[in-house]
Structures are given as C-alpha cells and as structure tokens.
C-alpha cells in the first residue's frame, strides 16, 4: 500500500474536483472520521507526518493523472492548501467526536 495512503485517499475521495458538491463531501469526511476513531487518527497522523516529510510532494499529490484536487505552482502553496483546508476538518472531527486531541 502506498505511503500516506489513508490521507491521500481521503483527499482524493472528498476533495476531488470531480465531485459536484465538495462541501457536502467534506462534511461527509468529517462525519466519517467522527464515526471511526482509527480512521481519524490515521488521517491526522499521516497528514502531520507528510507535512514534515521533505521528500514528499503535496503538489504532485494534489494534481496528477489519477487525482484532480488543485493544481499549484509550488510545493509551498500545495502544503498551505492542505493545512488550511484539510487539517481543520480533521481537528474538527476530533472535537466533534469528543476525543479532543487524542
């Protein structure tokens, strides 16, 4: 299984440009994380690890032949997108589930 598979799959499923209603999908992402502790913990762990992984390219991950989320001109912009748009949803899921930062 590929590295960071959980968080990459989540973004490919819930943030895809193919999706007609992205807000609904993101709400579903949060809902599913609230329902499934392992899922939300893996998502956050992988996201944080990837952000500290200099060898990993979020720019390539967010726009490639098999994944259309956003196309960025720099890695910094891509990471900023993830931090601003994905991490808060994961944090909200932890709060919503009552598990805080666990």
């Amino acid at each position: 299984m590929r590295h960071y598979n959980v968080i990459l799959s989540a973004i490919e499923v819930f943030y895809s440009d193919e999706t007609d209603d992205t807000l609904e999908m993101i709400a579903l992402f949060r809902e599913r994380m609230e329902q499934m502790p392992d899922y939300r913990q893996n998502a956050r762990r992988e996201l944080l690890e990837s952000l500290g992984d200099a060898a990993f390219s979020w720019r390539d991950a967010l726009w490639n032949e098999g994944c259309h989320v956003e196309e960025f001109s720099s890695e910094e912009e891509a990471r900023d997108y993830v931090v601003r748009n994905v991490l808060p949803v994961i944090d909200a899921a932890f709060k919503g589930s009552g598990s805080g930062g666990q």
Binding site: V6, E18, F29, H68
Partner: protein
C-alpha cells in the same frame, strides 16, 4: 421572422423556465408562511386527523375528505398576517356528492374537482404570472397578438398551445428536423400542463400527504444535504407523518407515478413525434399534479414545503428515467418541466433510478459522468470545455474524459472490485475512504469503455493555453474508482468508477 431563431430555446424559455422558476419561487414565497404557521402546524395536523367514525366515513367517501380538508384550508386564517391573506384562495369550487373525477390512480380515492385558477392555488398563481411574462415577451418579439391575462390560466395555456403549434408550422424543414424532438417534448409539456389545468387538481390533500410519505420517504428521491433538511422537517411533524402514512395507502400514489413513468418510457421508445409528445405530456402532467397538490396542502406547512422542494427532483427523476434519443432531447425534457441548470440532478436521478438497490453513495458521480448514457459527444465536450456530463463545471480541464460503454460494464467493474477483497483490506488497515487504481485489478478481461485525452492536459480553463487535438483511447480494460465505508450499513458505497487504459 429570421430563420435562425432557436425554437427550442424559445419554447424552453417561454414555458420551461416559467414552470421551473415558478416552483422555485413558490417555495421561496410560501416558506415564510411556513415559518408563521410552524407553531400551529402540529395542532393543525392533529386537528385534521379523522376520528374513528370519521375515518370510516372518509373511507367510504373519499371526495368528502377532500372537501373537508379544503374547507379548513380556505375557510380559516392560519397564522394570520399578510402572508396568509395573500395566499388565501378567493374561490374554490368543491363539488358535492360522489367522487366526480373517478379513480385517477390505482385504487385510491380522488377528492372532488377543485377549479384551478391562479387564486385557487399558490403554485398556479406564480406559474401563471411567469408563463404570461415569458409568453408575452416572445409573442411581442415575433409580432403575435398579446396573450390573455395571467389571471385566466386555462386561456393562457390554450394560447401557449397555439403558440407552440405556430412555432411548429413556422419552422423550416431543416429546423423542424433537427429540432423535432425538442419541439415534441416542449409541446408535450405544454399539453400536459393543459391537461392538468382542465382536469383540475386531483387529490389535493390526499396527494400532498402521500407524495411526502410515499414519494420521498419510500423512494429515496432526496439527496445529501437536502435529504437531511427534509428529514429534519419531517421530524418536526413526525407524528403527523406517521398518522398520514397509516391514514391511507400511500404506496399507491407512488405506484401510480411509477406507472406514469413506465408508460412515458414506452411512448418515448416508439420515437415518433406524437409518441414523444405523449410521453412528455404524461410526465409533465404528473409534475404539475405533484407540485400543485403539495403546495395546496400547506395547512401542514413544513411537510408541504418539504414536498414542494422535492417536486422538481421528482419530475426530473421521472424524466431521467426515459431514455431519450439524444442529449438535447433529455435536456429539453428537463427544460420543459424544471430548471435546466439542474442537469446534474437529472443524472443523479438517473443514477438513483438505475442503482437504487446497489451500494452507491447519493453524492456519487459514477453513472453521472462515466455511465452508459454518456455519449462520445459529451466526452469530447468535457475534454474541450471542462463541462462534465450532467452539467457540472470543473475548475480545470480534466486530464481525460472517459466513460463505460454501458452501465452493465460499470457494474461489472464494481462487482470485480468488491469481490477482490481490496476494500476490506483497506478497512482493516484503518482506512474508510478507498482509492482504487487501475494497477490494483489490472486487465478486467473486457473492453470496458473509451475516452478522450487532450494532447496538453491539466491546463487551466481560463489560461488560453489549451489547444491541440483530442486523442481518442479505445478498448479501456482497466478501472479506477473511489469508495467510502459506511459504518452504519457496513457497506462500501461507491463514489465513482471510470474505465482506464492500462
């Protein structure tokens, strides 16, 4: 008159937009009223429920039930204020005696005839005004006499039929040929509306409660956020809904409209202009019945509003269940009876109709964008413009536009994924949103689909840098897709699937 007049656009705009926007604006206009009446809605529900002895009486005289309910509607001020007075009908003719319209459905009672006028039904008031505005505009533009006042809905509908016939006659052979289906569909829609107007509202109250319980709750026509909103509204009056559902046989109403769709589909498949008119006529009439009936039941305000919101979807789903000969005809069908910008909804309806029993998420777009209904023209349009089948507009050009040759092949690919154990393995690894890539299953042993790949993919829509031919890729034998695990149902809900070249 110029030969390059877009007759389809005229007809769709003059009629379809009128109807579609009228439903929408009716919702917007009635909604505040619903708020006013929210507090009394519960009392209203209980007060109109029959006693045991009344029930026996109503079971015997269905039209008397309608008359009683309508009497409450017209004779009392619900909630007070301007909203109520502005919506109160000035005249409602309720026939006495036995059921005067016969059995319109499959064995359910139909209340007495109620005269349809812009004053008798809030839905018709807005509809008539919109219809008049558009009709007058096009009549003026084409040098025709002005249509009758919007207050006389039956005359206005007659006028629209004449206008439609005039447009038909005025079309050149070339235009008539290319626009034939469009004309037939729009014409059928107008005739359907006329049928509705002439036959009056059938089953106003009965239909309202049944369309909510049978149409929405049982048939799953609601999707996503709206579904939750409706569900919330249902819960506001859950006791009333439960009572309603046991009050009659709601399934019969839905069965009736399933029958309408089936007959329309059969008519449509015959392919002649007359049959397409008949198909469109039947479906449009059904849409009017639903829309007017549920709007007329706003004595149970929240429930009725929920049903009104559902009406365009229900109509579109009926329309989507018909296999039109071309995209244009499908779009025109929708334009005739609803908001044409809701093309995605049509496809969702199509998706739901074809896969309602499968594990597929309501927000999925597998059938919408990659299903068997997608033509090569749609794929080319998507690759060229970024506008996907169903009408969704992407932020960027796609790197490819692909579709299965048929829904059966899509379902074959889905079955192969589910049988592979990949989804369960990912779940066991703590993942709930699964991306399936073409490498995971490899060659599925069949020509699944085809696609168009831009020579220079991934270029921003507005950059102006996109150019060059499209490369058609045939014999796609692999598949990619996404799934979401649902812990409530313990099912893997499909989000999308698309064929891939290996």
């Amino acid at each position: 008159m110029s030969d390059d007049i877009n007759y389809g656009a005229i007809a769709a705009d003059a009629f379809g937009n009128a109807l579609g926007s009228s439903i929408t604006s009716t919702v917007a206009r009635v909604a505040p009223f619903a708020e006013v009446t929210q507090e009394v809605a519960a009392d209203r529900v209980s007060s109109i429920l029959p006693t045991a002895s009344e029930q026996a009486y109503f079971d015997r005289y269905g039209d008397e039930l309608g008359a009683r309910a309508l009497g409450m509607y017209s004779g009392e001020t619900i909630g007070g204020g301007d909203a109520a007075s502005s919506l109160a009908p000035r005249s409602i003719g309720v026939a006495s005696g036995p059921n005067s319209t016969g059995q319109a459905g499959v064995g359910y009672y139909v209340p007495s005839q109620v005269e349809v006028s812009p004053f008798a039904n809030p839905a018709w008031q807005t509809t008539s005004m919109k219809l008049y505005e558009n009709t007058a505009r096009y009549a003026s533009a084409n040098g025709l006499s002005a249509p009758p006042s919007w207050e006389y809905s039956s005359e206005l509908l007659d006028y629209n039929v004449e206008l439609q016939e005039w447009l038909y006659r005025a079309a050149s052979p070339e235009i008539a040929s290319t626009s034939q289906t469009v004309f037939a569909v729009i014409g059928g829609a107008i005739l359907g509306a006329t049928d509705f107007g002439r036959e009056s509202v059938a089953g106003l109250v009965t239909f309202g409660r049944n369309s909510v319980s049978a149409g929405l709750v049982k048939s799953g026509l609601a999707y996503g956020l709206e579904a939750r909103q409706w569900a919330h509204e249902f819960c506001d009056n859950i006791d009333g809904i439960a009572a309603f559902m046991s009050w009659d046989t709601p399934g019969k109403i839905w069965d009736h409209y399933t029958g309408v769709a089936t007959r329309a589909r059969a008519d449509w498949s015959k392919g002649t202009v007359e049959d397409i008119i008949a198909a469109s006529r039947g479906v449009t009439k059904a849409g009017f019945e639903i829309g007017s009936a549920v709007t007329g039941t706003y004595g149970v305000a929240k429930v009725a509003i929920a049903a009104v919101r559902a009406t365009p979807k229900m109509v579109k789903m009926l329309a989507a269940s018909m296999d039109g000969p071309a995209m244009g005809s499908r779009a025109s069908q929708v334009g005739a009876i609803g908001d044409i910008t809701g093309g995605g909804l049509v496809s969702r309806g199509l998706q739901a109709a074809r896969a309602k029993d499968a594990a597929i998420h309501p927000l999925a777009h597998a059938y919408t964008k990659h299903g068997g209904w997608v033509t090569d023209d749609l794929l080319i349009a998507r690759a060229r413009t970024g506008v996907a089948p169903g009408g969704a507009v992407a932020k960027k050009y796609p790197s490819k536009a692909t579709a299965f040759h048929s829904d059966e092949l899509l379902e074959l690919a889905d079955a192969r994924i589910r049988a592979s154990g990949i989804l369960e393995a990912q779940l066991a690894a703590g993942n709930a949103s699964m991306k399936i890539t073409k490498d995971m299953l490899g060659d599925l042993g069949a020509d699944l689909g085809r696609g168009y790949v831009p020579v220079r993919p991934n270029v921003a829509v507005n950059s102006g840098r996109f150019e060059g031919p499209l490369l058609k890729v045939d014999n796609m034998r692999g598949v990619s897709g996404t799934y979401i695990y649902n812990p409530s149902t313990k099912a893997f809900d499909m989000i999308t699937l698309y064929p891939e070249s290996l």
